[in-house]
Every structure is written in structure tokens, then in C-alpha cells.
Amino acid sequence: MKGVRFWGTRGSLPVALTAAGLQHKLRAVLRASQGRRLDSDTDIDRFLATLPFATAGTYGGHSACVQIDASGSDYFVCDMGSGLRALGQAAMSQRAGKAQTFHIFMSHLHWDHIMGLPFFVPAFIPGNRVFIYGSHREIEAALRRQQEPPSFPVGFDTIFESRVQFVALEPGVRHEVAGIGVTTMLQRHTGDSYGYRFDGGGKVLVYSTDSEHPLSDPEHTDRFVRFFGDADLVIFDAMYSLADAISVKADWGHSSNVVGVELCQMAGAKHLCMTHHEPVFDDNAIEAMLAETRRLEEITRSGAPLLISAAYDGLEIRL
């Protein structure tokens, strides 16, 4: 595995930057540009790179979808949120007339993780193959149901015919998928969710979203520390603050930046990337949380530093 690219990083519901939000950013950029010579695109790009990401960029708003660069020609994807549509467009542009194979791994079946499939153009193309993996028994039923009337105008079979196949993964067992090791683990979330541990090419990637961590259960913590053990990258649901996650939003099935840092530190992971951002958070709120999380890692560090990132649509991380 070489790395990952995020196509959807928002939790629960896709969001979009509004005109007012864009104007707020433009105002800040123009204010910061006063007195500078910006005669060329290079000058402008250099200037933009000096600005905070929340000012010159945006964390984006597609729901969960992460692509794993597994070295070969097959596509590896985690979850089919609305970001899958954009991934499909990119795959189509790289197709060059050849059949493509997609391996898609499902954390669970809530709508923000499945809504991209009806808009995933490569699955419409004869000759392409789409394998959907997961540890839930109801994956096929859930995906068919979202395309039944009155929810969607075109039925599952009409679009996908036999190009889409389902593969069950037994939790706790390491499976080989096109040269990549894949192990799932049950997580705490309404209707259950599964975390994924991928290994290949000497690298380990953990995808653990929509997972709540009951702090009163040491066995649960130990299980996750082992699952995250020595990972090169942990993609982690850090939707809420710790206080919210264990009070007003207890049992909502999500976690916090604080627990993410603690689990990664105990597991000896190298890089924590927070995702499944709360839809009500704007870019400044996510950036502030990122700064706070980096500070938390710094003041609680007892071993090697843990790199901290906040995922955004389009972010690429090399392993």
C-alpha cells in the first residue's frame, strides 16, 4: 500500500460551502493579499500556501469514502458515501477503454455510507467489476432497498446487472483481497459497524469510523489498542468532543479526538487522521479542533510523536 486519498470526510450528512461562507473566505484572502505583488499564478499559489487551510481551502462536504492506493490497477475503497460519485468520475477519466475492478469495503450500512452507489458511474460500465465486502449480513438487502421505489427511480438490477458481487468477511479473520490483507473487527454503533485493518507492502492502515468507545470497559480499549497496533495510519471517527460523546451524544455511535489520540498513543500508531466531521462544523471549527488535537498529543506524549491530521475531500496521505 502506498497511501490513501479521501473523497468524502463528512459524517452523517453531506454539506456544501455556502455563498456566504465563500465570501467570508474571499474577504479574508483579499485582506491578507494587500500590499503583495501577485503578478503570476506562481505568485498567487505561493501566497495561498501561506494562508490557513480554513481560509484558502475547505474541508469539503462529501460523506464517507476513502480510496487506498494499493499499488496495482485495482481500486480499493472504504465506504460508499457521496464521495464515491467523485471517485467514480476520476476513475472514468483514467479508464482508457480498459475494464476496471473495484474492491469496496463497507464499515456499515447507514445512509451516509451507502448513498454514493447509485451515482457510481463505473458500476454502470459493461466489463467492469465491483466487489462489495463486509461483515454485515444485510449489505445486499440494504443496497437494493435504497434503490427501491419511492426512494430512487432506477432499480439496483436495472443499473448494475451482474457487475456487482458481494463478499462476506468473517470478523477477526485475515482475508487476502488482490494482494492486500484485510481484517475486520466489530465496533460499537447502532446496527453494528466494522473497523478494517489493511496490511500490504510492509504498511498497515486502519479504517475505524462510526465507532463509539465505552470508557468504562477496559477490554474494549485493549481490543482496539491491539487492532490499531503499530499502524502507519489510523483513520478515525472524531466527530464529537469527548464531553459531548459521553454525555448528550452518548450512544450516538461516534467518538472524539481525545479518544483517538489516546488509542493511537497506546497502540504505537504513527499517524492519526480524524474524519467523519460533524456536519455543523465549519472549516474554522475543524481547523481549531485539529490545532487542539495536535496540542493534546504534544502535552500527553510519552513516546514517539504521533502525527495528527484532519481529513478533507481531496487529501492524499502517503504511507
Binding site: S216, T221, L242, A243, I246, E292, T293, L296, I299, T300
Partner: protein, 130 residues
Amino acid sequence: MHIETQHYADTIVAAPAGRIDHRSAAELEAALAPLLEQTGAARGALVLDFARVDYISSVGLRVLMVAAKQMRAQQARLSVAALQSVVAEIFTISRFDKVLTVCVTLDDALAQGSSAALAAYRAARPSSTT
């Protein structure tokens, strides 16, 4: 975990020390249980003096959340006072400063409880003025 305790009028001041992490949080929870019972029965106040606590993990924070909830249910009060700078940052980052009563000094915490408790505390520690 050993917790030093002092009684001032209707208020108990409890002072844990060291790291409250995934290993020691259960000890804190056990040590707090009788203090919470006493405070709840008296509808009084429990002040946690954190001056000697140099780290608290999410599991430790959960213990405080559960304790505060128990106190509210019994119409009693819980506050945390005199946080070291690192612990204060952890409270801020976790947003526990929004859900618990956090006081800069022990005096502040006692003053929020009752004037009798503050007077008793100052009488016992005449040098304490802040």
C-alpha cells in the same frame, strides 16, 4: 488511589494526586464513591482539589462526569479546582470545562459552595487569602 480529604462545614475537599489514567481511574472511582455518598446524603458540596493531579485521561474524565451526574441527581454539588496547566488544557480540549464546574482556586470553589465552608477553610488556613 489515596485521596486526602478535609471537611469544611457542608463541603468535603478531596485531593487526589498523580496521574489519573486508564489504569488508575477505577481507583479514583472507588475512592470517590463514599465521598459522593456522604455529599449526596447531606446535599452538600464536594470539591476536587486537583493541584497535585498532573494528568487525566478520558477514562478519568468519565469518572468525573458520572460523579457530577450523581451529585446533580441528589441536589448536591461537585466542582474541580486548582488545575495544573496541562490538566486545564485537557479539560479545555475535551470540553469538560463546559460540562463541569471548574474553579481556578480552591477558595473560588469553596466560595461557590457556601460562605460557611469558605470561612471554615480560611479559619483552618489563615494564610490563605486568594
